[in-house]
Symmetry: C2
Amino acid sequence: MVGGRAPIRTLTILCVSKLTDVPKRILIGRALRSDRLGETLLPKRIALPVFASDPLSSVAYAPGEVLLVLSIAGVSAYHFSPWIAVAVVVLMFTVVASYRQNVREYPSGGGDYEVATTNLGPKAGLTVASALLVDYVLTVAVSISSGIENLGSAVPFVVEHKVLCAVAVIVLLTLMNLRGVKESGKLFAIPTYVFVAGVFIMIAWGAFRGLVLDDTMRAPTADYEIKPEHQGLAGFALVFLLLRAFSSGCAALTGVEAISNGVPAFRKPKSKNAATTLALMGGLAVTMFCGIIALAMITKVRMAEVPGKDLFHNGVPLGSDYVQNPVISQVAEAVFGHGSFLFMILAAATALVLFLAANTAYNGFPLLGSILAQDRYLPRQLHTRGDRLAFSNGIVLLAGAAALLVVIYGADSTRLIQLYIVGVFVSFTLSQIGMVRHWNRHLAKEKDPNKRRHMIRSRAINTFGAFFTGLVLVVVLVTKFTHGAWVALLGMCIFYATMTAIRRHYDRVAEEIAAPETPNDDSVRPSRVHSIVLVSKIHRPTLRALAYAKLMRSHTLEALSINVDPAETKALKEEWERRGITVPLKVLDSPYREITRPIIEYVKNLRRESPRDVVSVIIPEYVVGHWYEHLLHNQSALRLKGRLLFTPGVMVTSVPYQLDSSEAAKKRARRRSEWNAPGAVRRGPVEKPRRAKEQNKKETSRKG
Amino acid sequence: MVGGRAPIRTLTILCVSKLTDVPKRILIGRALRSDRLGETLLPKRIALPVFASDPLSSVAYAPGEVLLVLSIAGVSAYHFSPWIAVAVVVLMFTVVASYRQNVREYPSGGGDYEVATTNLGPKAGLTVASALLVDYVLTVAVSISSGIENLGSAVPFVVEHKVLCAVAVIVLLTLMNLRGVKESGKLFAIPTYVFVAGVFIMIAWGAFRGLVLDDTMRAPTADYEIKPEHQGLAGFALVFLLLRAFSSGCAALTGVEAISNGVPAFRKPKSKNAATTLALMGGLAVTMFCGIIALAMITKVRMAEVPGKDLFHNGVPLGSDYVQNPVISQVAEAVFGHGSFLFMILAAATALVLFLAANTAYNGFPLLGSILAQDRYLPRQLHTRGDRLAFSNGIVLLAGAAALLVVIYGADSTRLIQLYIVGVFVSFTLSQIGMVRHWNRHLAKEKDPNKRRHMIRSRAINTFGAFFTGLVLVVVLVTKFTHGAWVALLGMCIFYATMTAIRRHYDRVAEEIAAPETPNDDSVRPSRVHSIVLVSKIHRPTLRALAYAKLMRSHTLEALSINVDPAETKALKEEWERRGITVPLKVLDSPYREITRPIIEYVKNLRRESPRDVVSVIIPEYVVGHWYEHLLHNQSALRLKGRLLFTPGVMVTSVPYQLDSSEAAKKRARRRSEWNAPGAVRRGPVEKPRRAKEQNKKETSRKG
């Protein structure tokens, strides 16, 4: 598809060590072969689960959150829940409709960040980026906590050791992503479709039992009474509570923007397929959300914010030992029966989808990071793929922050959700405002009335989207600020400040190193090269370095040795003469057995004598295979190199000598280069502009 | 004194950061100026405190240990203590007499390790080295624990938080040595002489009060009764107990060997001065030891192994809250009066001398390490001075092991002493056996009857020394093995095994890289150099790298860029042409935005096409000042360099470009190079053989 690959790509099968193999196989099956999914684009049926596991999985906790907040005003407030569901549905349709515009107009995968940057300027873009980064952290924390709670409804042990299990899942996902497990379509497709199918079967079977068979289905909590924290709320307080419930329900919308970042990974026509997938996702999500709320009402699910205190059974509070199961599992229990096969399957699929949603953040984080790196808000090396170290830092940062939140909030998804959504809606709102600006700009230039009509329609959608999401953002901020939203805002500020500082640094450096237009103003032009080969003993590495140095035909060439041990120096000189090595050997004294300082001083002196000369220091270097071997070799060379770099007019050359043991490290390095960066699938291959490609070919043929 | 210094030595004043300045000033005064003590050799009056703070300070705990062990058989056993003191004195004289031979015959500073290696072979030498390394760890642990106990007799808070304070002192000493505080003569002289003077005043004043004034001086514990753990010990059991008490008393001998490692630091005549200092030290130590034991008997000091259980006051056990003060402080209290000025001074001086003794180990450890490194038992870089990193590892290892012991043994000097001494006497015994061999070898060649007589006398001394110290070693092993000596033996084995493994590695590598005698058997000789300058953008670093590369006159030269971003690549090419850069630019495609892999493949291809060519990869490198800046630059270059080193037939050249911020790092590096390696004072400057020096001068003049 894309011409001019790097020459000969060795498709080695991923070398997975035995140790980490087992959990991976358990979690993701055998689909590990390096089938280079990155080279195959995603069809809609695969793209849907890959990108939508996050928003779809959020129906596992969003309905429950709505009921939880309503319960503050007592069970009677539950009858507001359909209205809240309607509001969420309207919001979902608005957001999906808006984002269908986004993916059509900005298909490059830059998502909200690109839209905001292009239309509202870099500050808005950076705000969006900060919001999304925080959002990724929270996606991990919330999804895993909720997954643990869902798994706990089937396996009580898990919920009894909630924090421990949640942290264990974070660690597992982190290790998987550090080792470079590639997202695979199958991996996402199976649990996601099982989950979706399970929820739909549940809704259908529930409707059938309720409406046709006229069964009474009762949730396990149906008999409990709720002691309202505020009796008979009315007026402003009631509105505030409803708005809070709505804010919580908006958790169902998280992850919608993922598709807009993943357009390049879709099959052609990319934008159209992405837009269709968005619509599909929205449809599925609202149906599931409403279905679960409806079933919860029918089966009389009772939930409370502080279940041990506010839930009563026969007038007795349930006590702090009581574990409140998620709505979805309570409903499943009512519909399918406790411990039934379908109940277990649904619980497992729910947990799995939630963990996959968390994994989505592990992929989205570096993806966004690479885009930010391109704009120099993050270290450059994040931009290129396969830099394991750079990605690792990002992954560890993400996991560390998520684990911290999980521990602080006791892996309680309800408390974590208070922090969530702020970031999402900041990004939604700014992106939609950006789209409005986008249309305004285009409308100013467009003359074709047909296209204008289309644009005006799109602008209307985005305007409504901007207005609605902005309103929700305000509602979320107002209703949740003290409940934890401030933590998310603080996180955003930290990201924003860090990225601004990095960008400022890069700008300063770029200015400093900018090439002058007139080539001659760069002080004195170098005229001659004085080469120095550092010698400690005569052995193969030294001989090789000498041979290479002679080839370089520098203006002068000498060997330099430091006299640390007089006996050794004497032996060196004798052997030098005996072998008839033609390069002159110079010996520097070092009464304090230092190596670095005499060499640095010598080089500085050379430069002082003839400032226009360049000094080339050639260092024979051992290449060993293990880190502990590294401790035993090259340490002086390393230190010396570090110091030489600060000396102006010097070039430092390493002539490596590969010891036998270096084979081990070579293999390790090769394996590392086969590493799959997280987010590779979502990013899709690089698309090259036609012109550059052609020019490139010309260039290559001319030179090659 | 030593000719041919490194050219121009900048004597920058040590830049000590504000933060760590305060504790240092408190602990060691202002004597920090970089007055290059290493260049001035030590007169006897300074050498004595520098080398003898360890053995002299051990009289602070050795007498108490004797009483402690005797107390097992009840207070009646205390009357054996003078006899034990006599045995310790005889042993001390033997050891001092023996070591006076050592310093005369082996003045190079190799100490026991050198004597054992030369005369008994490398395995014996390595055993001695292992023993000494363990000994250093224990010196730190025991001295600091004892110092804390002595300080605690004046400042109760300290002894109430014993472990914490001991670890704090270890951390402080470690930081001081990591930063490179130089041992200074004054630093050692003042507290050591105050301590010695204090003890002598105490003995004299005690004798005066006791014999002339006929005062009754009573230690604070004089009224306590001891409940013997074994009533009426007799026969073998009693002998065993006395031997154990003697073993504990032998703690007074630790550190005697330090002088034999420090001969090069003495003023000339080095050996004679060292021998005199040894005699002085021995004389002072035994006088103080006997004086303290005598005063303890007169003032009726009562000590027990488990004071809370075995000490009674009016028939009631003292209970676990009772803190047993060291003998020296109890005696001082009896002689000077509790809380008196002299009492406080002596307590402070004792603690300080003990901490200095611990610091001695921080200096001796790297000193021994450097000798071992010379023989390739430890990483090479320990041999050269000023390698901060190498020394740091050693210091941290020493401190970590000592802190571990302190924590495990609750900073209880009595329990730690059980581990001590084994190492010392292993080293004593092997060294003395080695000396006997030494004399045998020399006697076989020597004809002069005068010299022969002298040698025979020396051999007799060393033979007696070997016999006596060997006997003590057996006694110590037998009486203390189960009390903890096994831990010390285990430590020795670990050091021995590690050093053997390192030596084996170096030997294997040396064999692998040994230069062949016939110069032509090293596969294919290189014929041409193909130079590649890596380019990402046109800026000053790139231009500099291109200019330098052109100077090198390699056979072919091209610039290489990786197409990660088509737009950037296009801009690069346009600017390349616009500027009329004569070096041809080659662009490699990288559909996955990798950098390393395409370059490695390209280089490998070049090598495949013409295997006799050498590829020179020239990388423009930014030099920045702070570690966080480093994260933002050069990461791709670093990774690439790492991979290229594994590719045969490649040389990797860095062309550094110093950014403005690199000034900070430059200063830091310079400061680091001014760093004083611990042990520098003890080691003395390198002595060069006459011949090598002359040859050197000739060489330098010929080339220079």
